[in-house]
């Protein structure tokens, strides 16, 4: 018993000290003595500690993330378009200075031209997806669109060698048409979805020219409500008034479908055609055309001429359970789950290459 007494005294001292520290901290916060001003910066030692803790936290959490191959023009193109609207304001871009407003925050958002030297792919992915506390760096709008995050990482890596002219080339040209909607579409949508007559700049991006109007409206409304997730599209759609949604939908529905055929090389297009026309009853797969032909419900999308990469990506996301939700997805998701990987490739390639004129012959 006598042995325990000094230990018990030590414990009391430790607890009392901790309590005094906690009370002191509360009193300090209550007093208002701490200067919260971004203009004042941190003490150098605090700054160093914060950076040390931040980089270790990112390294630890990114350690388990496997980076895919990011050497893909399509990824860079679509990532670049989002960078222009979502990131360049704070971080700057080749030939574009970061806004002095953002640079006055604490910490100031770093210049990213050599960011791929400071962080590896997985670490960049983790930062872009999750954001960083207390810095103003936001998380990705959707936590379910890793594909979009990787596209941005691909662009960040390309930043190192990207010239001013190359960066400017990623931006959409000014619309030739006089109508306000067309000008806005050119500024907001054509950048990714392609100007009139062209396909999208990236095969990751869906063809929306010549798509059914009701479907486009429904898709934009789903982005607004959040049942359809995308860090690219949700911020854009949320800015649109219902009247603007209807106007954009009509604008794109009236355009001709582009003629470009994307990525159908290795797939078995004939097997895809059979699936599209007849389905595979033994596997419970209905014929795709029964919902995706031109005479089906206006809220079902057209698929012909669509990017094969895009169709396959959507089907795979439904198949793995990461797909979008909502009323139409509830119909598509169980069917996508019944498709094999080969069937997904085949049917995506078939629709990318198919033109309705072929059926008439």
């Amino acid at each position: 018993m006598t042995m325990l007494r000094p230990i018990r005294r030590d414990i009391i001292v430790i607890v009392a000290t901790l309590l005094a520290l906690a009370i002191g901290a509360v009193l300090f916060a209550w007093s208002g003595l701490y200067n919260i001003a971004a203009s004042k910066g941190h003490w150098p030692i605090v700054e160093a500690m914060l950076r040390f803790g931040m980089s270790n936290s990112v390294e630890l959490r990114a350690a388990m993330i496997d980076a895919p191959d990011l050497r893909d023009e399509d990824l860079v193109a679509v990532g670049g378009n989002h960078y222009r609207s979502g990131c360049a304001y704070c971080h700057g871009a080749p030939g574009v200075k970061a806004s002095p407003v953002s640079q006055s925050s604490l910490p100031p958002p770093p210049d990213l031209s050599d960011v791929s030297k400071r962080w590896n792919d997985s670490e960049l992915f983790w930062i872009v997806k999750n954001g960083i506390k207390y810095t103003g760096m936001p998380a990705w709008v959707s936590q379910n669109r890793d594909d979009e995050v990787w596209a941005l990482v691909a662009f960040l890596k390309a930043l190192k060698t990207l010239s001013r002219d190359e960066y400017v080339a990623l931006q959409p040209g000014a619309g030739a048409s006089a109508s306000a909607i067309a000008r806005e579409a050119a500024a907001n949508c054509d950048g990714c979805h392609g100007a009139s007559g062209e396909g999208p700049r990236s095969a990751m991006v869906p063809v929306i020219a010549g798509q059914k109007r009701d479907y486009l409206i429904a898709a934009l409304e789903d982005y607004v409500s959040g049942v359809r997730e995308s860090g690219f599209m949700q911020p854009i759609a949320s800015d649109l008034a219902p009247a603007a949604i209807a106007a954009f939908a009509a604008h794109y529905a009236d355009r001709a479908r582009p003629t470009r055929v994307d990525g159908t090389a290795a797939a078995d297009v004939e097997a895809g055609r059979r699936l599209a026309v007849a389905g595979a009853a033994q596997s419970g797969i209905p014929a795709c055309n029964s919902c995706h032909a031109a005479d089906a419900l206006a809220s079902y999308p057209l698929l012909w001429g669509q990017s094969a990469t895009y169709i396959a990506a959507q089907l795979r996301r439904w198949k793995t359970g990461a797909g979008r939700r909502g009323e139409r997805s509830a119909i598509m998701a169980p069917i996508a789950k019944r498709l094999s990987d080969q069937q997904i490739e085949a049917v995506s390639a078939f629709y990318a290459a198919f033109r309705p004129e072929q059926a008439a012959k």
Binding site: A281, C291, L297, R328, I331
Partner: protein, 326 residues
């Protein structure tokens, strides 16, 4: 006692239901089911008698006069009561059972053959017409009263078991094989059946009805199924348009239209059936709409996606069309 009264009442009601429901082993309406019921009652009586004998012997062994207890304890009594008696009784039972069930193993050509396939989780029913054509229906087997019927059973993927207790015993439906269930309905009526072999998720919601009808009515029905369809009113015409444009025909067939899907149930006589979703809900327009919209909540795991895309007006047109299919 007062608190127990509702439970007692409920128990009585259950007991009564067992006697009158069309889904009961104890109310047989065909020879095969009658044999099973006879065997059941015979077994029940025999087992009651044996139980009485064992109880009596036990009582005598404890409380009986010394002379009786001595006799029970003899080796001869144990051999006679414990070996010879069960052997004789069980052998007799086996012979009686085989003799009773001989009708089910009959090889004689039936009056009618119906193909029934156990799907996940519904029943595909096919009648072959004399001219070789097939009439397909689902979740309801129509039978002519008094005629011997052989159901050819199979399954495309997993094992099911068809059991219509008031008409016959259960027979498994095995992928890659055709098994046969013979039955005959003695009188007209609707007899409920169910899947009696666990077959995945909604197994418990996989029921069907056997509808026994007078032979002339059955022939007329089959002719009607093979014949032309009736005209549609305005709402039904819009419903047919929706049925096509929403893609229903990719999985469901309606004879006489270009809807020829073979994945889900054939809907040609949908409105004439007693239930929706394989015995799930009674047939009505409201329930049809509920199944179309909330099918995954009503029968979780079934293969039909929920269609929540229709407006109230569209649902009304669609169900008018579906329930009008006869």
């Amino acid at each position: 006692v007062r608190q127990g009264a509702p439970y007692l009442l409920a128990t009585c009601a259950l007991g009564l239901a067992a006697c009158e429901d069309s889904h009961s082993v104890l109310s047989p309406h065909g020879p095969a089911a009658s044999s099973i019921a006879a065997l059941t009652w015979f077994l029940f009586g025999l087992v009651t008698a044996v139980f009485g004998i064992v109880m009596a012997a036990t009582w005598l062994a404890i409380r009986g006069p010394q002379s009786v207890r001595n006799r029970i304890a003899q080796r001869r009594a144990i051999v006679a009561g414990g070996v010879a008696f069960p052997a004789v009784v069980l052998s007799g039972l086996l012979i009686y059972g085989i003799w009773l069930m001989r009708a089910e193993a009959s090889q004689a050509e039936p009056d009618l053959r119906v193909e029934v396939s156990g799907e996940q989780w519904w029943w595909r029913v096919r009648y072959r017409l004399p001219d070789g054509r097939a009439i397909e229906s689902a979740n309801e087997i129509r039978l002519p009263v008094g005629q011997s019927v052989a159901l050819s059973l199979t399954s495309p993927d997993v094992i099911h078991s068809l059991w219509i207790p008031s008409l016959a015993g259960k027979v498994d439906m095995i992928p890659g094989r055709v098994t046969t269930l013979r039955l005959k309905a003695d009188r007209a009526g609707v007899y409920r059946g169910a899947c009696a072999e666990y077959c995945g998720g909604p197994h418990a919601l996989m029921a069907l009805h056997a509808v026994a009808m007078p032979a002339p009515d059955f022939a007329a029905w089959l002719d009607g199924r093979a014949g032309a369809r009736q005209a549609l009113n305005e709402s039904q015409t819009r419903g047919l348009g929706l049925f096509k444009s929403a893609g229903c025909g990719a999985c469901h067939a309606v004879d006489g239209t270009d809807a020829n899907g073979a994945i889900g149930p054939n809907l040609t006589d949908f409105g004439a059936r007693r239930s929706i979703g394989a015995g799930l809900l009674p047939m009505s327009r409201e329930n049809t709409a509920r199944f179309v919209v909330h099918g995954q909540r009503l029968k979780p795991g079934n293969r039909m996606p929920p269609f929540q895309i229709f407006s109230a007006g569209q649902l009304s047109d669609l169900t008018a069309y579906l329930v009008g299919l006869r």
